[in-house]
């Protein structure tokens, strides 16, 4: 708790305490804490003197401001029309099989989360996905097996 408080204080000092700085502050928390906890959002509300519902409303709008704790590796498959038409659904199926989780879930041990995201601007090279900050384009089921297999074997 105390740590979250410190972090929120530090971030709001860095970006400013007014409403328009809400998003950078929330991003800062996600970078440090991997997710936005209830306690963190309440701290932000207090620090910025806005309601907790408003903080949550903003956070829940953005895929990248996750409010539940995800795995160490967040796989985000683009769900926009282009990637959808180019076969993202099949990719998801492959990864669901490999990770033994459903879309939106996190593996036991919190290593991988399989998620969808809104457009990540790679429509010309769809279907596309991100694993944390690394992006992968023009994906096929084979490519996905290879990439994810590599992650499963080599990254901890």
């Amino acid at each position: 708790m105390a740590e979250v408080k410190e972090l929120v204080k530090k971030l709001s000092k860095k970006y400013g305490k007014t409403r328009e700085n809400l998003i950078p502050v929330l991003q800062g928390i996600v970078d440090e804490e991997n997710c936005l906890s209830k306690a963190a959002m309440r701290e932000v509300a207090q620090e910025m003197d806005i309601s907790a519902a408003e903080v949550y409303g903003t956070a829940s709008f953005f895929s990248f401001l996750n409010t539940k704790e995800d795995g160490k590796y967040k796989i985000r498959v683009c769900k926009s029309i282009t990637c959808d038409m180019k076969g993202k659904q099949e990719l998801i199926k492959v990864m669901e099989d490999m990770l033994k989780v459903k879309l939106g879930e996190t593996t036991q041990g919190k290593r991988f989360s399989l998620l969808e995201t809104n457009c990540i601007g790679l429509c010309d090279k769809g279907p596309a996905m991100l694993i944390n900050d690394e992006f992968f384009t023009e994906l096929t089921p084979e490519k996905v097996r290879e990439i994810l297999g590599d992650y499963i074997r080599n990254k901890y």
Binding site: K38, M41, R42, A45, Q46, I50, S51, A52, A53, E54, V55, Y56, G57, S60, F61, T67
Partner: protein, 594 residues
């Protein structure tokens, strides 16, 4: 004439102030454009699109609520294109709406239902996509939230932000998953909510309603062992008629009493009686605080603030927990009434208090919560068993098959049915202050307050924050410490205005000695339990009716109410006495703010 613009709507010329919307311009020439997300009290949202019109020279349709009138505009409000678009919009809204209208509390008083009927949404162009897993949130004592009926117009969100500055509700998620919800989708009883119910009166559908308790009341009425007592608040009598066929602003006091008796209430009493009692206690409390401040120089919290409005009380408990000492310790009239019903009333009537069911007919959603506060059991029982809103009472009258328009008038029962004009005006913003001043001035100087006909006009009206200054001269010896003092009194209604008043207090800059705060805009007449719709025009009419009722009362100062005189002689002994303290005063608690 640069601040006026002239445009044509459906071929008619209309000249309006610059900045006015096409929608409002159309209203001026009685051209009706349908709306859903629009509400007079709130800022423009323009998200439902039902108000679209065709503008000459433009390919796309124009939302009339969100577009300012411009010179030379040619607007058509009912072209085939407009009608087709509106019908499509309605069909889309209905496809996402839980259309079980027959079981909906808002049926026949629903803006979506009305428009759906008008546009005759009889086809199946869009299949229903209501999410079956949406649960009805019944966790709060006051407010029920049913997302399957939400059309996401965000009127509640804007109400909570703009009128009340609580922001309990927010828009969450996005796209097809977008919902009006709370922090982390927590249930309504776990969030920072004042229960004021303004979201209910601003909701166009049945997504937000009050928790209903009338079935419980019918059961009690039907139980021969139970003695069911109802007391009705001042603003119920000036609004109830709206639900039963009367014009807005009609006083239906006598008919309401007759109807309640016909329905089987064993005793129909008047909350105004306990409003008068509140005034006696509160005025005396104020004088004690002033004496401490002026004479004995004790540390005392001034300004003192009224505590009649349970929405306001919960607001200060959440938002300014360090400043609760400013609140008067007086219970609200409802809770005073409840505590006395199961003690004084029971004793006088020789009825076993455990057999009494005490019901409060209120213009309020927060009163339901207040009745269920654990500390409100000073009579040894639950002081108030259930709070009903004006709307619920209207429904009950209809359920009983009573032809309201044809009823004779009758008077409140006795005891605790006698009231003064001062008790009546509690229902309007500024009313508690006016009532308190009528009595306090008399107590201090021995003379009536120096306003024409006792009408303290500066405290009246719909301005958000009002103030009045009264100079005390020729005081009675006991109050000589107030001689020549010019005291300032403040009034705020709507919690966003309450916040301004509180911020002054926090900064130590409040100029007032006594402040009245009501949670709802307009005071109780605009309460969260009042008939829907409510807007400023309606508020003004209800307020006018309240003051009319006041002028028609033979006695207009609380301390002259013969039943009040009697209760102090027979039972309470003296204001702020031991019994009063036990039954009529309460404590507040600090709550979390986020």
């Amino acid at each position: 004439m640069t601040d006026k613009v002239t445009l044509t709507i459906d071929g008619q010329n209309v000249t309006v102030d610059k900045g006015m919307s096409i929608l409002d311009a159309a209203k001026q020439i009685d051209v009706r454009i349908p709306t859903l997300c629009h509400h007079e009290d709130l800022c423009v949202a323009g998200n439902c699109r039902i108000c679209v019109v065709e503008q000459k020279g433009k390919n796309t349709l124009t939302p009339s609520c969100a577009t300012p009138a411009e010179p030379g505009m040619e607007i058509e409000t009912s072209t085939p294109k407009v009608r087709k678009a509106r019908k499509d919009i309605m069909a889309l809204l209905v496809s996402e709406h839980n259309t079980q209208c027959t079981t909906c509390y808002r049926s026949t008083n629903c803006e979506l239902q009305d428009l759906a009927a008008e546009y005759n949404i009889d086809n199946d162009i869009y299949i229903s996509v209501v999410k079956p897993d949406l649960n009805i949130d019944k966790s709060s004592w006051s407010i029920e939230k049913d997302d399957s009926k939400c059309i996401r117009c965000q009127r509640c969100v804007r109400t909570c932000a703009e009128l009340q500055h609580v922001n309990a509700l927010a828009v969450t998620e996005r796209g097809k998953d977008m919902r009006v919800s709370t922090f982390m989708h927590l249930p309504m009883n776990e969030i920072v909510c004042t229960n004021c119910g303004q979201c209910i009166t601003h909701c166009p559908t049945g997504a937000l309603t009050e928790r209903r308790y009338y079935d419980k009341i019918w059961d009690a009425i039907d139980d021969p062992d139970k003695h069911v007592v109802i007391n009705t608040a001042p603003s119920v009598r000036v609004a109830l008629g709206e639900m039963l066929g009367y014009e807005v602003g009609t006083r239906v006091t006598g008919k309401m009493v007759t109807a309640l008796k016909k329905m089987g209430f064993d005793s129909v009493l008047d909350t105004d009686f306990s409003a008068d009692l509140t005034i006696i206690e509160e005025a005396n409390e104020l004088l004690v605080r002033l004496k401490k401040a002026f004479v004995t120089k004790e540390e005392v919290a001034l300004p003192m603030i009224t505590s009649c409005s349970p929405g306001w009380v919960k607001f200060i408990e959440h938002m300014y927990p360090e400043h609760l000492a400013h609140l008067s310790t007086c219970k609200s009239p409802q809770q005073m009434f409840g505590a006395l019903t199961k003690t004084y009333y029971a004793e006088k009537k020789g009825i076993d208090p455990s057999k009494i069911v005490s019901v409060a007919g209120m213009p309020c959603a927060a009163k339901k919560y207040e009745a269920n506060r654990p500390e409100m059991r000073d009579s040894g029982f639950m002081d108030v068993d259930a709070g009903l809103t004006t709307r619920e009472i209207g429904h009950m009258i209809k359920q009983a098959g009573i032809d309201f328009l044809e009823l004779e008038d009758s008077n409140f029962d006795s005891i605790m049915g006698e009231s003064t004009g001062a008790g009546v005006i509690f229902g309007a913003t500024g009313g508690v202050m006016e009532a308190a001043l009528r009595t306090a001035y008399f107590v201090i100087t021995g003379r009536p307050v120096p306003f024409n006909d006792l009408n303290i006009t500066p405290v009246r009206g719909l301005e958000g924050i009002k103030e009045a200054t009264i100079k005390f001269e020729d005081c009675l010896p006991e109050y000589s410490f107030l001689e020549g003092v010019e005291a300032k009194f403040g009034i705020a209604h709507g919690l966003i205005n309450a916040r301004q008043i509180m911020d002054q207090i926090v900064e130590g800059k409040s100029p007032f000695v006594f402040i009245e705060i009501m949670a709802c805009p307009g005071g109780c007449i605009g309460g969260g339990g009042q008939p829907i719709p409510t807007n400023d025009e309606i508020r003004k009419k209800r307020i006018a009716a309240i003051y009319e009722e006041d002028m028609n009362k033979p006695i207009r100062m609380s301390h002259e109410n013969p039943e009040i005189v009697a209760i102090y002689e027979d039972y309470l002994e003296k204001p702020l006495g031991e019994k009063s303290h036990h039954l009529l005063h309460t404590k507040y608690r600090k709550r979390k703010r986020y």
